[in-house]
Symmetry: C2
């Protein structure tokens, strides 16, 4: 897992087995910036917010941070005052081991909701994490934060600013309880570019909106969704021109888009990745709402699993979504195969062709409403027997 | 299947194998009132409306009808002008065979969306239906309209008005694509009470709201949802007193409540029936929204299948539902076992006790928000491997 590809100048990481996850697996990770970094975060819109989310918001007020400590196996959510104490203690322990201020440490947790964190195990693990930092260990941290994930999610972008090369590396986790409204499960982004915290935050928000806010696995928004970014400025570039800021934003979007796609690809039990694309909706909100409703419909998702171009379920989902639509205007495609033309099925030959496309691991389900000029799309996956198995047995 | 229990004076029914369903099964039914009956209907709120829904609304304008003809195997939805023609022709054929007006015939269809009805088969079946009418055949009609249902759904209520006994018999079908907003799949109600069409409609609407609008299987609202009621007046009662009207409404609610419960019990692949009860919400809409969000959460439904009192998923669903809530106020019970007290878990002993309750086929999941005075509840079922199997293979 360790390799040169996912290093960023000035950042070190480590991971260890704290014993918070079942089995003998990496379950705690640490990321440290050698110098103070510009920092930003985006968090869940769920009204039930985990303790580390509350703590991160507090520690990000000044737009600067030095470290991220993360655990899997326990979400430290719905844990009340004790949960917030535990998150704070975790930050204190990391700060002490690293010789920095506790307010410079960001904390993230993922796993089972409603159980107190085993602080004895955390206390033992923190010095191990601090003692094993390596510039090559970012992939190990990505592995340590996995829960029902089947692979660690990493992406990298290389850019230039003021004639100097910089890098963005992102790692993420997530496979279930995924329909972010402002963020997703956990995603950490590291870069050596020099950038103002306000510019960093602006780029992070717009990129989150275009990537992590456009995916769904099961329509459930987590209590712990967290995206964090640290920019340590080691590149030493001069202040960013508009063009350079544009490149950085595109790079960030590329890395986050990669990671978001990997999360859906690794959706619990998923066998297929589908882009649900809405064209020519009457409003931007209609476009998004139509895409979300189709992408979350259990009947559409099981039909995709069955490789059945059952477009009646797509029409029914559109019809109940609450958008402006007229049945007789709707066109539907599976990749290049048009299966519905002006609200009517194009017959068995077209469906047979579409069924063949649906055997692929990835395809686009495209819906033209012919109502207006607004477009949007959502990445989703199919609903399978394996999804049920994973989630019926999660805690047992 | 034929028995005396489900007869109503003045009503006859029949069923036949038209060949619209796969296999050799009953798939068309006819219900006829010997005399003109007061009639009412409630239909899907889906913007994509099946042809028979459009026709029924038209034929119900005068509040009177004589017959209901129903088919399974094909929903006659998303079939355009041809679909409406076919629904009209079906009514014409039935009217001709029965010697009544076409405008007195109500039409209902259920099954696959987007395929034209095979009118040759319908044409052959209608005279068979008209020639085999029997007062004892209502259960056969209930069987003929089944799709993925595993049993026919019937209920009866006996009342008195003006010293004369009357009866309400209801039949319904439905197992998937179930989250009615104004009705559900198909439900036919027959009574021999004498009642004004306006009173009938009022009772039907309020009863639909309390029963069929409070169930969900998969969160998908059908294009064909139809509830029809015929009251032939054979009881010959004098006009209803307020008390008698109250009894009739309660009777209707009892029959429709029974049928709605059976639909969830027969939910595709379901092994359990759960009442999700919200107490003390800040508003009526919050109570309903909270109940719906929890009742439709894939994560909650799979946890119920796994008999796991994973209340973190319930809290997460409440948190994303958009209602007014404060985590620290929430109490959660599984039947009589409290598993969450003021937002915090009550520990392994309580969860073990709750897990034992969850082994039952039916239980109540009760959530007290402590925000206001509004209550509501939704009947739902679990999400199982069998649901995925049924819906991945539906058309193949």
């Amino acid at each position: 897992m360790e390799n040169e590809q996912y290093t960023v100048p000035g950042f070190k990481a480590s991971a260890t087995i704290a014993g918070l996850k079942k089995g003998n697996a990496l379950d705690m990770g640490l990321i440290v910036s050698e110098t103070e970094a510009a920092a930003g975060g985006v968090f869940t819109t769920n009204k039930v917010r985990a303790a580390p989310v509350i703590l991160c918001e507090r520690h990000l007020e000044k737009g600067r941070a030095r470290a991220i400590i993360v655990n899997a196996g326990n979400a430290n959510a719905c844990t009340g005052a004790r949960g917030l104490d535990d998150a704070l203690t975790t930050a204190d322990l990391a700060a002490e081991a690293l010789g920095i201020n506790s307010g410079e440490v960001l904390v993230a947790s993922t796993g089972v909701i409603g159980q107190p964190l085993n602080m004895e195990k955390v206390e033992k693990a923190v010095p191990v994490l601090a003692g094993n930092l390596s510039s090559k260990a970012i992939p190990r941290t990505a592995r340590a934060m996995m829960t029902t994930d089947s692979f660690p999610k990493m992406s990298r972008f290389d850019g230039q600013a003021g004639g100097r090369p910089y890098r963005i590396v992102g790692i993420a986790k997530g496979a279930g309880m995924i329909m972010p409204e402002m963020a997703t499960t956990l995603c950490f982004l590291l870069t050596d570019i020099q950038i103002e915290p306000e510019d960093l935050k602006k780029a992070l928000l717009s990129s989150t909106n275009a990537t992590f806010n456009r995916i769904t696995v099961d329509g459930d928004t987590s209590t712990n969704d967290t995206v964090l970014i640290l920019a340590n400025g080691l590149t030493g570039n001069t202040s960013l021109s508009e063009q350079e800021m544009g490149l950085f934003s595109r790079g960030l979007r590329q890395v986050m888009g990669d990671l978001a796609r990997m999360i859906v690809l690794d959706g619990e039990g998923a066998t297929k990745l589908i882009r649900v694309e809405i064209k020519n909706a009457a409003s931007a909100s209609d476009a998004l709402r139509a895409a979300r409703t189709v992408a979350n419909s259990s009947l559409v998702k099981t039909a995709i699993y069955g490789q059945d171009p059952n477009w009646g379920r797509i029409m029914a989902a559109l019809g109940r979504s609450g958008i402006n639509m007229i049945e007789e205007r709707v066109d539907i495609w599976i990749d290049q195969v048009r299966i519905v033309s002006r609200g009517l099925g194009r017959g068995p030959a077209a469906e047979k062709e579409a069924a063949a496309v649906m055997c692929k691991k990835e395809f686009t389900l495209s819906i033209d409403l012919h109502e207006g000029v607004y477009h949007d799309s959502i990445l989703t996956c199919d609903l399978t027997h394996e999804y049920v198995s994973i989630n019926a047995d999660y805690r047992t």
